[in-house]
Symmetry: C2
Subunit: 264 residues, 2 copies
Amino acid sequence: MNLIMIFPDEVTSNNSVQLTDERAKHIRTVLRAQPGKTLRIGLLNGPLGIGMVEKTLDESVMLSCAWEAAPPPRPAIDLLLAMPRPKVLKRLWAQFAALGVGRIILTNAEKVERFYFDTHVLDPDFYNARLVEGLQQARDTLLPEVRIVRKLKPFIEDELDGVFPRSGKRIIADPSGTQTVFQALVARDAPLEADCVGAQRFAAQGQSERVMLVVGPEGGWTPAELELFKAHGFEVFGMGPRILRTDTACIALLSQLSLCFSLE
Amino acid sequence: MNLIMIFPDEVTSNNSVQLTDERAKHIRTVLRAQPGKTLRIGLLNGPLGIGMVEKTLDESVMLSCAWEAAPPPRPAIDLLLAMPRPKVLKRLWAQFAALGVGRIILTNAEKVERFYFDTHVLDPDFYNARLVEGLQQARDTLLPEVRIVRKLKPFIEDELDGVFPRSGKRIIADPSGTQTVFQALVARDAPLEADCVGAQRFAAQGQSERVMLVVGPEGGWTPAELELFKAHGFEVFGMGPRILRTDTACIALLSQLSLCFSLE
């Protein structure tokens, strides 16, 4: 825990918080914080801040909170992911929040088993707890939005433009892709200067431009699905010849994208 | 399993193989391969190839093998990692092999608990099985070399130059790093053209140049350890403000590095 997450309804009018759960235990037993000690805190969907330990009792910790002026920026990446096996998704929630995504859309696909959707792993109480865990790891406060899409085609055809602006970058990872993620990010605007120079130009635009990253199921998208994405402005790219498990691939792709955002 | 791994001592003089274990079961029940069907195979530490199913019996499968002329290239990245918690390392072995590393060196460090080394996860039978699993996922055949280093300082001072040439790129990920992995790769040769142009130049050199990537323990390196690495030619870089778990960080860093190798 690199940050103690505070929930808005826990904060009193004089900006103090009384914690009694795992967070209090962590502060007392792992951080061994005595009164006067300051801790990194965050307000869920709000600013980061500093909490000073006012007093510790047997089971509880009282903090006084000082907040930064503004919340951290929302991560510029939205992820549209074919629903993975529940066991895999269970491990991924915290990773998504730690790596930084603005929105997670889980969708059905031809090669996704229907029963994958019948799982407690899609229960908001379950995934929100995991997302908060990832935010606390990465020192962020913005809970990714989660959406479950049962039918891919109508979502892409009728809803996508409302959810994700046409002006944003739409990219889809697929083994058939021959360009890198860099090239995909600049392909439509500047096909000739693709790759490095274009990526620099992309980064120079700052985080104003959002990226939607699409990742397929273990068995891949069908040709028809891939065409559907292409017809709606998604640029295909690959990660080379090595085939990765969905969970590894998600982390790898988000990391490569975040590198594109940090180029100077 | 995107490739069936064959072990050298299983191949008869006329290039046939009889499988009876999990691989035979996978071929019969998951791939449902009938005689005449061809499968992707690989010879451990040797070439990729094609196996044709000659016959299937109740428990066994007989393949005739045709091999490519040369083994795939050894991944250009060596990883030096402070020994993680055994539970974390257990999950990482297959990922390392899937992402592609030439060598994995696990080392002690000030903030590594000594008991981490008392684990079956460091037993060669255990980790080689996991590494083969990762190779089968990624369609590679070259088993990463594994080495356990109990004392970091004498290893860096006395042995490193023999294990990893001074001409290679040495980089270390640390939260104190302000440059990207791109910049770190070219920092010594071309400090002024760092980042994108330099990275392109790096990629243009091809895979002839090896990279050693150093990743620290959950609690980080001590200042003295960091100085030791710097004094031996390691360039410090970071991944931005988000703090990742060791397992996520390893996957993220290896993915960013592989992107650097694939730039045009």
